[in-house]
Symmetry: C2
Subunit: 335 residues, 2 copies
Amino acid sequence: MAMKVGSQTFTFPSRPVLTGWATVSGPKEGQGPAGAYFDKIFPDLTMQQKSFEKAEQLMMITAVEIALEKGGVAKDAVDVFVAGDLLNQIIISGYSALKVGAPYLGIYGACSSFCEGLFLGGLLVDGGGAQYVVAATSSHNCTAERQFRYPTEYGAQLPPWAQHTVTGAAAVVVAARGSGPVLELATVGKVMDLGIKDPYNMGAAMAPAAADTIFTHLADTGRQPGDYDLIVTGDLGRVGRELLVELALRQGHDLSANYRDCGEIIYSREQTENAGASGCACSALVTLGLLFNQNYRRILVVATGALHSPTSCQQGDSIPAIAHAVSIEFPKGGQ
Amino acid sequence: MAMKVGSQTFTFPSRPVLTGWATVSGPKEGQGPAGAYFDKIFPDLTMQQKSFEKAEQLMMITAVEIALEKGGVAKDAVDVFVAGDLLNQIIISGYSALKVGAPYLGIYGACSSFCEGLFLGGLLVDGGGAQYVVAATSSHNCTAERQFRYPTEYGAQLPPWAQHTVTGAAAVVVAARGSGPVLELATVGKVMDLGIKDPYNMGAAMAPAAADTIFTHLADTGRQPGDYDLIVTGDLGRVGRELLVELALRQGHDLSANYRDCGEIIYSREQTENAGASGCACSALVTLGLLFNQNYRRILVVATGALHSPTSCQQGDSIPAIAHAVSIEFPKGGQ
């Protein structure tokens, strides 16, 4: 039964286990540093589907199916399917839920959805009576860019602080028992808005929210950054990551030793356009692909989301942002 | 600590209490049968804001503030703010969360968001360590119609099965203790899609999902329709309500005695255009406004949501739908 610690952090004393997970990506991500760990890499962006939306949906469904298979869980044993994506009315998640066939909770936290889903998965398993929850998220470069900015076919020139939306999907099985990494606790973020209005500059918009969630998490738990082998933010990119490091220093936290950003990790230096990567799949692919295959004891994943819409930007509003953090422990020799 | 009963139903043994709630509406809803119970009625659709989106946001914030005041809960005592609306990237909820200032979970279940929020509120309070959760939802006729169909200013003619999107917002304080109606249990719905492609005909698209959730709820709990003083669906409207009654009869359930649809209740017969009302606020306003002021012992609220987007409709996809149910008990003489 979950308990609240400090102001925004929830513990999961029953120690829900991530018994299965899967990563599916587009070609560019597959060629990056994490690509060797992905479960499936599609060779092109259309994935033989008639629309980019259908391609994204195929990625999410594929991720769910592989995660269930790896976790040894039958589709009809899934108590709740929790999913979110970037598209209007999160249609990727809704249409995928139809195919998954499990009771469904749709979430929207933009690129923070990965951690929001993990939090709800932990909550449902820890104190909610669920045995198996599948949390999934996805993004597709061509669906997101068309919706939020311009269709990629237009070839619009990007500013140096722009980030490349990741094409990929990921799913995790959160289970009441079994072996695997443990969902230890989660910090639910607050919405922050420091006035950034440029929809290309999401790193700057999201950095204060990431900083707030990390500082709150450390205060709530009485931990230091060094208590984690690694702290990763979701998709701040180069600009946002630099801002976060500076914000942390001002608060007396030195993150230089063990902090990185998934948006800077997922593509190699040669692949990196502008300030790095973004998208719901960014933190999910890096965490489940690359980080789950390292020799860590405990990591803090801080997925960051920009909560604007094209309508709000066109109406002159600034970009509110949020970040949710989850602490994941890797027991040695199985759980 | 919540438990799962049957295939899709979750119980809340600690009996979370709805200690405060608020209903805010536009002028048309205020003139309807439930209007006398609303906490605030705006006299026009712009609400002195520079956009309809800002007006909708004002309604949601107003609802949250009144609900907290009525529940005697300070803003900074809110453990989690759970909110969802119809707009792309649920911007009403995101921008409202900034003003509420509490840890925030964004949800998207279209017009089922009211019950999805109540379910998560119950889960967070019952087994999640939260003391106070505020669940909120909203819809605005002019923001929703512009986004999903045509701007209302175009005066597009509507088919007889179309529904009028409700202008309103509602918020509920779910608390670990206190007095008020009790959140007894909830049934999380599955996504259903029987092939309806007409975005005006949401009643028909949603009726199978509502039927499935109601039948599953009755099977999971071993209850009969008569165990509830009233079963209400969210916003099926006349067309969807008639379909649901027929679907129920085929399954051996006679709903004629105690089943109604909020989409048919919120406007008077003289006010009703076409098939009734829809929108996230529809089930919330009727439930919290009208039904909470009747002499019921127990009601089942089944909020229904159509999970399409304009993009999915334009791409020729049919409309998937979902329904989540919550059972609310009204203890006599306080809890």
